[in-house]
């Protein structure tokens, strides 16, 4: 009987797998898992930034504080409401642009680049650009509205800051475009031809063929949108009054949960409490993601 070699093909394949994933796993542990666990530990302490050598365990005090802090709770509700506006809008804009770009026409590549560009511009650059556009005095948007006889609007003021934020985020929501486009192009043409033969019009084809076929991608974009929506921080800060950088305080309509968490850490040195706020958010996002996942069976179509 031939002697079985230790390093046979199977074992080599397994070893190769572990070698190839090792860099990612090492980096994940070092840069994600260790800080995660450290953050969880510090959220149970009275860490203030400079007392690491004499930090004290405070149990769940910080977590209790999250639910008794009126500002934390109101900012959480506000974040949820903003998400209820921006996430669906983002999905609609992303899908709408993909539908427009799915048809073969002259200059399609140029249009795709232009429409996709907002999602690749760095957030800070986009924020600074929109601050200039929204400027009540010489901003582009007011100048444009002035052509139609509309009086200048203080976009960065209390009454309109939320609208300004929604406009800015909708402009940058073409990130899902590529996925939507790929999904649209994956729909077999025969389905549309068969539907046409049965007398289906454009709307029927869209609702009965297009939407179900791309529903997995819509589901993915929805989940990512929910996660991103709850983590909303940079855009409100960039549109906030003042010149204090990351510590600019957004006006109340755009004062989100993450802004409040960052203020606790950077503004008030309440590291333990700020970290507890973030862990509460992780929990909330997970719950919501599970709920949305459970709804899949009602509206997401998987061909297999």
């Amino acid at each position: 009987m031939a002697e079985k070699r230790f390093w046979n093909a199977k074992r080599r394949e397994i070893a190769l797998f572990y070698v190839l994933v090792a860099p990612f796993v090492i980096l994940f542990i070092a840069t994600k898992l260790v800080p995660f666990v450290n953050g969880l530990y510090l959220s149970l302490t009275n860490y203030t930034g400079y007392n690491y050598d004499r930090v004290e365990f405070v149990g769940v005090n910080n977590y209790q504080r999250v639910f008794t802090d009126a500002q934390a709770m109101s900012s959480l509700g506000r974040t949820f409401l903003i998400g209820c506006i921006t996430v669906p809008l983002g999905l609609i804009v992303g899908l709408g642009c993909a539908l427009l770009l799915n048809k073969a026409r002259k200059g399609l590549g140029v249009f795709r680049t232009i429409i996709y560009m907002p999602s690749i511009i760095p957030t800070v650059a986009a924020g600074l650009m929109w601050r200039i556009i929204f400027n009540a005095n010489e901003g582009l948007l007011n100048k444009f509205l002035g052509i139609f006889g509309i009086n200048p609007v203080n976009w960065l003021g209390y009454d309109h800051i939320l609208a300004a934020l929604v406009i800015m985020m909708t402009w940058g929501s073409t990130g899902g475009l590529l996925l939507n486009l790929a999904a649209l192009q994956g729909i077999p043409n025969e389905l549309y031809e068969a539907a046409a033969l049965d007398g289906a019009g454009g709307w029927k084809k869209f609702t009965k063929i297009t939407l179900p076929m791309i529903s997995p991608i819509l589901f993915f974009n929805l989940v990512m949108g929910i996660i991103g929506g709850f983590q909303l921080y940079a855009q409100p800060v960039l549109l906030a009054p003042g010149s204090n950088g990351v510590l600019n305080l957004p006006l109340k309509p755009t004062y989100t949960y993450m802004v409040h968490a960052y203020q606790q850490i950077l503004g008030y040195s309440r590291f333990g409490y700020g970290l507890a706020m973030m862990w509460v958010l992780v929990f909330i996002i997970n719950i919501l993601t599970v709920i949305v996942t459970k709804t899949q069976k009602y509206w997401v179509f998987y061909s297999d």
Binding site: R11, I14, A15, Y18, A22, V25, I26, I29, A30, V34, N46, T48, G49, Y50, N51, Y52, D53, I132, N135, A136, N137, E138, G146, P152, N154, L156, G157, Y158, D159, P241, G242, S243, N244, L247, L249, L251, K252, Q263, I265, L266, G267, Y268, S269, R270
Partner: protein
């Protein structure tokens, strides 16, 4: 057999990953090259066999005297001195006078520095604002007291320090008394006012007297008089811009009438006062009327460039602006006599109001293993020939009284600003801060409620109650951090 092999291989690889991860997480040791710090080592006559400083160089200043020590092989790490980045002239100066000392600039924000403090790798020297960080970090045990070093120094003389040094003094009970925890490099009376004479003339305003202390109400009248709109209703001229934040402006206003937001023993905060209410009302009015540059109405900058373009009538930002910025502005440098400096306003005229609201200085981190070398660096950076050179350039007031006369006084503009600045220094007040509440905490709280009042979403009374509660919480937390009852 197969499963056993897989398990063994998995365990071995996982152990290897964990060991590798723990190796990745190991902090750099003090004195080692850090990939995160920007190294600017000076050329020096260091011996290759010399080792980095440890206990051998940690001698009491009385026994040896800083000036006679060598620092071969010692590298001090400096945080916050952005003016020293790529500064070949200073590198050469340190190489010639540093007794073998070298330095490297550490790029970090406060969060990163906290991490470095936790791992014992923080920078030796912290160059931060005396107003916002001096007593605050001293109270938290992060700064080394410098009295013994100063006493043994040939460069610094405590009797020669200007009153701005009081921002770095804290005896555990009062800011402005007790040990010194830092030495200021440059400073200004940050609430003095720059006036654009051309704008004033155009607005029909008389040129102010630079030795008179005007009230904030008078300043507001002038600011509103400077405001202009074009035919389409767009604002084309503003009354005032400032680099000071709300906390600085409010503190300056409160202290201008001899009051303070804090009790003498720093145990209480007073928010429900006429002065705080007046300050809130004042700036809300200035913002709403467009008299002050704000996010409600802005020329696109804080006012510095627009001031030179005759779009802003006044700037509240101190002596440094004149020779340090305005003199280099293309729209201003050939007509500097169109600008002048006047005294800081007061809520009433019974007391002086000139105060330093920043004052960047240098302090030694208490955990530094190179304290002697760090003080040597401070002598080079904040004192001696380098301080004289900076005084001659006029980028700010020197911390040492005998250097004040070196400030530029050649042109008419320089003479006027020198006289106004000197008058201000004679009438200077030290702002009363509370080291148990961070300056950022004060600013964040004021900002939060100011905008609620500004946009009439909250009454002044409700804002006062909410701020009082918030400040009391911050004070209690701060005292706990500092170990004070």
């Amino acid at each position: 057999m197969k499963n056993t092999f897989r398990k063994t291989l998995s365990i071995l690889l996982t152990a290897g990953m964990l060991l590798g991860a723990s190796g990745c997480a190991a902090p750099a040791l003090p004195g080692e090259e850090s990939s995160e710090s920007e190294s600017r080592k000076t050329e020096s006559s260091q011996s290759e066999s010399a080792e980095p400083s440890s206990e051998s160089q940690e001698q009491a200043p009385e026994s040896q005297g800083v000036e006679s020590q060598r620092f071969d092989g010692v590298t001090v790490r400096v945080w916050g001195a952005t003016d020293l980045l790529n500064n070949a002239e200073f590198e050469k100066y340190v190489a010639e006078n540093g007794e073998g000392l070298t330095y490297e600039i550490v790029s970090a924000d406060e969060i990163k520095m906290m991490s470095m403090v936790a791992t014992g790798t923080a920078a030796d020297i912290w160059c931060l604002s005396a107003f916002s960080h001096g007593a605050m970090y001293a109270a938290r045990g992060l700064y080394e007291p410098l009295d013994d070093y100063i006493a043994a120094s040939d460069v610094f003389d405590e009797a020669n320090f200007t009153d701005v040094e009081n921002l770095y003094r804290f005896d555990g009970k009062e800011v402005g008394a007790g040990p010194i925890y830092g030495i200021v490099k440059d400073w200004s009376l940050d609430n003095q006012i720059w006036v654009n004479k051309k704008v004033f003339a155009d607005a029909g305003l008389e040129i102010p007297d630079p030795t008179k202390i005007y009230t904030w109400d008078e300043i507001r009248e002038w600011a509103k008089a400077c405001v202009e709109f074009d035919e389409s209703g767009e604002q084309t001229r503003w009354g005032m811009g400032t680099t000071n934040n709300l906390y600085q402006l409010i503190t300056g206003m409160v202290c201008s009438v001899g009051k303070s937001m804090f009790s003498d023993d720093l145990s209480e905060v007073y928010i429900d006062t006429p002065e705080i209410r007046a300050a809130f009302d004042y700036w809300a009015d200035m913002y709403k009327s467009g008299a002050a540059i704000s996010d409600m109405s802005t020329p696109g900058d804080w006012g510095g460039d627009s001031f030179a373009l005759d779009k802003v009538g006044m700037l509240c930002c101190g002596y440094w602006f004149g020779n340090g910025t305005l003199a280099f502005n293309e729209n201003a440098k050939d007509r500097m006599d169109d600008f002048m400096l006047i005294q800081a306003p007061s809520l009433d005229t019974s007391k002086g109001a000139n105060a330093c609201m920043a004052g960047v200085g240098a302090s030694i981190w208490r955990g530094s293993k190179n304290k002697e070398a760090a003080f040597k660096f401070i002598e080079l950076y904040n004192g001696g020939e380098w301080a004289k050179k900076r005084a001659i350039q006029g980028f700010g007031n020197p911390a040492q009284s005998d250097l004040v006369e070196l400030l530029p006084q050649e042109t008419q503009f320089q003479k006027q600003t020198y006289d106004a600045n000197e008058f201000g220094m004679k009438n200077m007040i030290t702002l009363k801060t509370n080291p148990y509440i961070t300056a950022q905490g004060m600013e964040s709280t004021f900002q939060q409620f100011f905008y609620e009042v500004l946009y009439e979403r909250m009454t002044m009374d409700d804002a006062i109650v909410a701020m009082q509660e918030q400040f009391e919480t911050l004070l209690a937390e701060g005292k706990e951090i500092c170990g004070v009852d």
